[in-house]
Symmetry: C2
């Protein structure tokens, strides 16, 4: 398993024979900072997921799975959360979907 999202990117990049500079350009990013991302010293900004998907012709949903899966896992590990947390998260996301039938805008204010 790829332990981190950084490693995931690095593998994609090297498998596709790109240099840091080349990929960084596509992601509108400094190559030095991309290096840090690959090595886990910086976070990859979620706003660049689309560009990453484009760069490697990936399914955006699969990317989200990798990216957010990684984020959640890091949090859980850092705070020693029970596994249960993920089941509650699932319940809650389903609840959010069912309540907020209208897709589009998002409303986190819990107004009645």
């Amino acid at each position: 398993m790829k332990a981190t999202f950084g490693e995931y990117i690095k593998k994609l990049r090297t498998d596709n024979g790109l240099t840091l500079t080349q990929l960084a350009f596509q992601l509108d990013l400094d190559s030095a900072n991309l290096s840090k991302i690959e090595n886990g010293k910086r976070e990859f900004d979620e706003k660049r997921l689309d560009k990453l998907a484009t760069a490697f012709n990936l399914d955006i949903n699969q990317l989200k799975v990798e990216y957010f899966g990684d984020q959640f896992a890091k949090k859980m590990y850092a705070y020693n959360c029970p596994t249960e947390t993920l089941m509650v998260a699932e319940e809650k996301v389903n609840y959010l979907k069912s309540v907020n039938t209208k897709q589009g805008e998002i409303n986190f204010d819990n107004e009645k």
Copy 2:
């Protein structure tokens, strides 16, 4: 189900007959800001989970489940992540635990 962590706090507080000012004091927080937290206009800072547990004599793990479950769900909903994300998160957290056998410090640098 309590939709948000804010509502969760509010219920705890009112069930226990505390005013915002009283609970805010225990959490070392401005009562106006606690109000915003309860109403989903601000985030509850995870560094205060311990104080919250103490205030209501709650199991800290149960609190983490509620808190992080909420956080993850909001992200998933906002970014329309596949449910799969949570399964990957589980794999990854297990991986992190197995790799980083020594508990204590946390190391997110992916050094070999």
